[in-house]
């Protein structure tokens, strides 16, 4: 009896589990239908181009006719391509300075604005204004500022007796990259401020007050109380900026086109030149893959580092 009861109980449980599985499958299927449109769009505009680029990176293609399969020849060339390594080096400079400066400045300014600073809204608006401008417009305007013939910067330097410093900022190999980078930082740090300011809204003021009561100074409160509470937002902004640094293109292209003599070349402008000026679409695809892999690795490393510090 007991045996039969347990058997029937087991059967019932089995049937219930089967029903649950069936319901789950039905729900799963329905869910699949819901995500299908987004999945199709994603595959069409990201998945397929990515796979096509990956395939092209193993070919030699001049843009017309059918690509010739060359195996790993492009990757072999990549290893010996001095111009690529130079561009990648510039990207590293861009990523380090172009991430550290706007994120740090943004963080400090966001905390200052969060601490009941007068005119907080006005300051946030002013700081955010460059973000809404097109990078092309910013590049053109800063190009005028740097112009050696009539630019504001050199005119100002001459005006205060520093005429010897008035140089062609975008035409000198030693200054071109940094001049563009200053422009990029100026146009971007407002974004960091606004995002970090939003993250600061979740910081518990009581914890900050408690730390103050316990004798913690402003730096200690900032480092040990505020920053840990906005760590996820800080990580997101940093990763986003790092990835953006490896994809830097528009500002460089508008202001220097990677010149003079490749001094401000970054991997994206080099890729563009190789693919569209040199008609080497296969090798251009290889460079694109490098750009993607390096950006992903850098983002992953940043997140790991952040997790370890936290």
């Amino acid at each position: 009896m007991t045996t039969s009861a347990s058997r029937s109980g087991g059967l019932a449980a089995g049937r219930a589990a089967a029903r649950r599985r069936g319901r789950f499958k039905t729900r799963e299927r329905a869910g699949l239908w819901f995500v299908l449109p987004a999945l199709v769009v994603y595959m069409l505009f990201f998945g397929l181009p990515f796979l096509a680029t990956l395939w092209l990176s193993f070919t030699d293609w001049g843009g017309v006719g059918w690509p010739d399969w060359t195996g790993v020849a492009n990757y072999d060339r990549l290893a010996r391509d001095g111009a690529m390594w130079h561009a990648l080096g510039n990207n590293l400079i861009w990523v380090v300075l172009g991430t550290a400066i706007p994120v740090l400045v943004g963080l400090v300014l966001a905390v200052m604005l969060w601490s009941d600073a007068r005119g907080s809204v006005a300051y946030r608006t002013v700081f955010f204004l460059p973000v809404i401008l097109s990078p092309v417009v910013i590049g053109v305007i800063w190009g005028w500022i740097y112009n050696p013939l009539f630019g504001l910067l050199n005119t100002g330097l001459r005006g205060i007796g520093l005429g010897a410093w008035a140089i062609g900022w975008l035409g000198e190999p030693g200054t071109a990259l940094y001049a563009v980078l200053v422009t990029a930082i100026w146009s971007y740090f407002g974004f960091c401020i606004v995002v970090l300011f939003a993250g600061l809204q979740k910081v518990d003021p009581e914890l900050v007050d408690a730390a103050r009561v316990d004798g913690a100074g402003p730096v200690q409160r900032f480092r040990s109380v505020i920053v840990p509470q906005i760590a996820p937002v800080l990580t997101m902004v940093t990763v986003y900026t790092v990835i953006g640094g490896f994809n830097a293109f528009d500002m460089v292209w508008v202001m220097t086109q990677g010149g003079p003599n490749n001094a401000s070349e970054v991997i994206a402008t080099y890729t563009y030149e190789v693919a569209f000026r040199g008609n080497e679409y296969g090798y251009g695809a290889t460079l694109s893959m490098v750009m993607s892999v390096v950006a992903l690795l850098a983002a992953w490393a940043t997140m790991r580092l952040r997790a370890r510090i936290a």
């Binding site: 001049g62 843009g63 017309v64 006719g65 190009g143 740097y146 112009n147 050696p148 013939l149 140089i167 062609g168 900022w169 975008l170 035409g171 000198e172 190999p173 220097t256 086109q257 010149g259 003079p260 003599n261 490749n262 030149e273 569209f276 000026r277 040199g278 008609n279």
Partner: protein
């Protein structure tokens, strides 16, 4: 029923009439950004003469055109007719890829008999004619006649007089030669002007053809004179690599520079300068012949994928009909690729000079339109490096040859 039968043909006519009268839309791309209104006028005249054809024109900068034309033609969304660079590195690539429609039959029909025969060479690849060369250009030195007169400077006949003119202008407190090489390609024209004058023409053509080396003392001399010596002597404005081509032209047009070296495509802009503008060909050093670089500014081509080949050919016949020379010359200050003898077109004095100059002495070649992309890239980066003091003239000559070998 009878009424229906009677109405039916009328209905068919009503439906069919708009379809039959529907215009063919011809998509045309060109790079006439600076004299765009003149090209609009040419197209308006064409549409008026060909009521069944509607031209949809898109203007692309030369750089954009180079970046997108291949993709556009490949995808089948490109133009029916387009203006593009001639030469093996540009139109030759498209012809080799089967993206162009051959025009041998159009030439054979006699419709293009007026087109200058030498222009055909620049659009012939693998024995077939793929386009029609257009816009004869040359590289020259424009000068501010007022400055020259005020400072007692005669138009230079020798290279020594040219450098003396630089010194005189410098002494007068103006920039002797406006030069903006931020984009890199303006140096192509400077190099062409110097190389044609300092390298014997047959040797230069052999270098372009690949049978002689660019790593040659004559080439080094041309690079040295153009990008090292003139700069060291203060003949150019400061920070050449940081000044754009447009800003250099603006410097000249504003009367802040005495000369500028660029192409005849600037005639349309410089004719309106607030001072009297003239031009002279860069004189060759003693013992050499002055050979101003000249060639085609571009050419017209028909896409292999066009659905309207007849209309496209009609459009080209119109563009290259000497009867329409007035539209090119007056509206665009462009010298077409056929003789202007007998035309009643009113030309600006500067354009008259240009037309007369083309009928004169022997002309050299625009090097960059005849050389492959790798060579041009080495010119682009390398001349910036020479101007920036990062590379010597000799190293650049070696690099040019290395790019050919590559």
């Amino acid at each position: 029923m009878t009424a229906c039968r009677m109405a039916l043909p009328g209905l068919v006519l009503l439906v069919a009439t708009p379809a039959m009268a529907q215009d063919v839309t011809l998509r045309v791309w060109d790079s006439f950004t600076e004299n765009s209104e003149g090209m609009d006028a040419i197209i308006a005249a064409f549409e008026a003469a060909n009521p069944g054809i509607d031209v949809q024109r898109d203007v692309q900068s030369t750089e954009d055109m180079r970046a997108i034309i291949q993709t556009a033609l490949n995808s089948g969304t490109g133009p029916d007719v387009f203006q593009y660079d001639t030469g093996p590195g540009f139109a030759g690539v498209l012809a080799g890829g089967g993206l162009l429609r051959p025009l041998d039959d159009l030439y054979a029909s006699g419709s293009l008999d007026a087109v200058l025969p030498w222009t055909k060479e620049r659009v012939t690849f693998d024995g077939k004619l793929w386009g029609i060369g257009n816009q004869i250009d040359f590289v020259t030195v424009y000068y501010n006649k007022d400055f020259f007169e005020e400072n007692g400077i005669a138009v230079p006949q020798t290279y020594e007089e040219f450098t003396a003119a630089c010194e005189a202008l410098k002494g007068a407190g103006v920039v002797p030669i406006a030069f903006g090489n931020a984009a890199g390609w303006p140096a192509f024209h400077t190099f062409s002007a110097f190389a044609n004058n300092m390298v014997p023409q047959d040797q230069l053509m052999a270098m372009i053809g690949g049978s002689q080396s660019w790593d040659d003392p004559a080439v080094t001399g041309a690079i040295q004179a153009a990008f090292v010596d003139l700069q060291a002597n203060g003949c150019y404005n400061p920070s050449v690599n940081a000044v754009s081509y447009d800003d250099a032209n603006a410097l000249f047009m504003a009367g802040q520079a005495g000369m500028t070296l660029t192409g005849s495509w600037m005639i349309n802009t410089f004719k309106d300068n607030p001072f009297e503008t003239g031009f002279f060909f860069l004189p060759a050093p003693a013992g050499m012949t002055t050979m101003p670089p000249a060639g085609l500014g571009g050419g017209y081509f028909i896409s292999a994928a066009t659905e309207h080949p007849d209309e496209a050919e009609t459009f080209l016949k119109f563009l290259f009909d000497p009867g329409n020379a007035k539209l090119w010359v007056e509206g665009m200050s462009v010298i077409p690729s056929y003789s202007l003898e007998g035309t009643d077109a009113q030309m600006s004095p500067l354009l008259q000079e240009a037309v007369a100059a083309l009928g004169g002495d022997a002309m050299g070649v625009n090097i960059d339109v005849l050389t492959p992309e790798a060579f041009n890239t080495t010119m682009l980066d390398g001349f910036q490096a020479v101007l920036g003091g990062e590379r010597t003239a000799e190293e650049q000559a070696t690099a040019l040859q290395a790019s050919v070998a590559q």
